[in-house]
């Protein structure tokens, strides 16, 4: 049942609790790391941590009261739902994690190209692969030209960067 007795949809509070729970967990962990520390390491944390715990406690009480009165439901569907899958968000998250893990091994240019191509293909449900490949290649090469060749920024270097360096240094 998602509607209140007066016909208004009930507020879904499951997702709303994630940030306060994270805040409380982190604050308690933080306090645990400073229990034996000098006062200079403690004063700021106790002050701010105390306020965080107080505010979250108020939030938890308000949420509990809303659940008890039937105005809210403990559901996460406004935060995580089927749209995450159909929109490609889960796929984008997976490719982003893979990008972060593999960039050090594959180098900036190649990994960026693969990330862009696969992500765009997922988000576009496999359509317009030719255009996607072209855009991904152009963006990855532009990034190489600007950041690595022009600015010599110390991005992760891989096979492609090595080949280009050898080609450019040997004319």
């Amino acid at each position: 049942m998602t509607d209140r007795r007066d016909g208004e949809p009930r507020q879904q509070v499951g997702g709303d609790l994630i940030i306060p729970v994270l805040a409380v967990a982190f604050t308690l962990y933080f306090i645990s790391t400073i229990l034996d520390s000098p006062w200079t390491a403690q004063v700021n944390a106790f002050m701010i941590g105390g306020i965080v715990l107080f505010l979250c406690a108020i939030f938890f009480v308000k949420t509990a009261l809303a659940l008890r009165s039937g105005e809210a439901t403990f559901s996460f569907s406004n935060t995580f739902n089927g749209e995450d899958w159909t929109s490609g968000r889960i796929g984008l998250l997976a490719t982003t994690i893979a990008y972060a893990v593999l960039i050090e091994w594959g180098g900036f240019t190649l990994t960026t190209f693969l990330f862009l191509a696969i992500s765009m293909a997922i988000l576009n449900h496999g359509k317009r692969l030719g255009l996607i490949t072209l855009i991904s290649a152009a963006m990855a090469l532009s990034g190489w030209a600007l950041f690595i060749w022009a600015f010599d920024t110390r991005f992760p270097r891989g096979w492609f960067e090595g080949v280009m360096q050898a080609v450019l240094s040997n004319g």
């Binding site: 997702g15 709303d16 994630i18 940030i19 306060p20 994270l22 805040a23 982190f26 604050t27 962990y29 933080f30 790391t33 400073i34 520390s37 000098p38 200079t40 390491a41 004063v43 700021n44 944390a45 701010i48 941590g49 965080v52 505010l55 979250c56 108020i58 939030f59 308000k62 406004n78 935060t79 749209e83 929109s87 490609g88 968000r89 984008l92 998250l93 490719t95 982003t96 994690i97 990008y99 972060a100 960039i103 050090e104 900036f108 960026t112 990330f115 862009l116 992500s119 765009m120 988000l123 576009n124 996607i132 855009i135 963006m139 990034g143 600007l146 010599d152 110390r154 991005f155 992760p156």
Partner: protein, 504 residues
Amino acid sequence: MGETTSLFADLLFHTLSYWWVMIPTIFLGLIVGGIPGFSAANTIIILMPLTLAMEVETGLIFMVTLYCAARMGAGIPAILVNIPGTAGAAATPLDGYPMTQQGKGQQALAISFVASALGGLITTLIALVSMPWLARVGFYMHSVEMIVVMLFGISLIATIAAKDTLKGLIAGFFGLMIGSIGTDVVYATPRGTFGFLELYDGVPLIPALVGLFAVSEAFLIIEKRSILSESGRAAMVKTSWDATFQGVRLALSRWWHIVWTSIIGLVIGVIPGAGASIASFVAYQQSRTFSKTPELYGTGHPEGLIAPESANNGVTSGTLVPLLVLGIPGGATAAIMLVVMQYNGINFGPSLFEDRPEIGYGMFMAMAVTYVMMMLTIIPLSRYMSRVTTVPTIYLAPMIISFTLVGAFVPREYMFDLYLALAFGVIGYIARKTGYHVAAILIGVILGPLLERYFLLALKKSDGDVMTLFSSNIGNVLWVLLALSIIFPIFLDKRKARKAMMGQ
């Protein structure tokens, strides 16, 4: 007086002769300012061999131009895709991005460019004239006064949280808690670091910024085909040069707003270490406090865009004052300018303006000329830049993620920062989906460590006596102003509500 006028006239023409350095550097600055992780400071360091090989005047003009242009450039992604290029532009999306979503991206860019250029130009001229007095500001702003200045910025958390105060405060104080990660300033005791050495210096700003704004935004925007609303898409189809002229007119009609918010930036910029992020938050908060329509802030209000943009360019002028007069750099970019100047044997202090006026006054003149050039070259580009908003999100989102994640890697070259940006991205996404303000979290992350440092300094100097917070006359005046700026809007809101009830 005649000699001074003649000196400035000579300097003006001399600086204009460096147009071939300034114009390409303006475009370079826009690019590096617009990519999170690539600040002017990083770029100057990367190009240091080139800068040191140049004649000292050329090198300084290059650095000043890059600095000003990067500051302006950081506002472009903040307005168009809700991703600040630097922390100094973190308050810009609050009203800039809603304007873009309404199809007014071109107008918003024009407003931002005019506010930045005019704000920077006005403060440069003020700094030139009032340098001896401005230089003294740094002497009077001690730890106690800086605590109150930080609190001005932190009180913005409550302002942003207007719609759901409790969630906004939880987000803000959660950010302050995250900002406390790292070793304490006195005994270097590690706190809340999860055992990671990379967090001993605290949470690095760029990964937090990139994650909370860019990565989370990318995950959100794919829900729709375009970042523009339905009416925004219709407005973009009909867009013409008129939107740019409207933006320019809107900004110029609010010239007084530009003046006083840029002066906030100038005063804060004079204080070493204060930074553009503090100035932009304080200016936004003050702009909202004194506005006749505070309820419009956060919905695409021009003044909400003007305030942070003019303030963060006011900081660029202010940063030069302690650098040239006292030899104390106001921030990272000024510190690098100091290196270049020392390499060329330039001595700082009041004698710089007598012995080498072409350097001392020349830097301010370069700044002024840069702002005028930027007005002429960049404002017309707002029409074409705003076209980015028509790119479908299926292409835009992966591009945002890839370039901003590597931008998170650039400052420290730790892979850890890339993973940290991703973690902040997930937190930012959940926060946005559930009504918590990522801007409030970021304010806490930026200002929290600064507030703690000044607070501990004050307590150490007074042997733990908390009443030291009220021991300075300037500090007490600032406390009163802070209290008024918090109470005044509440009082005005209640008066408006009472009038509305009586009207009914």
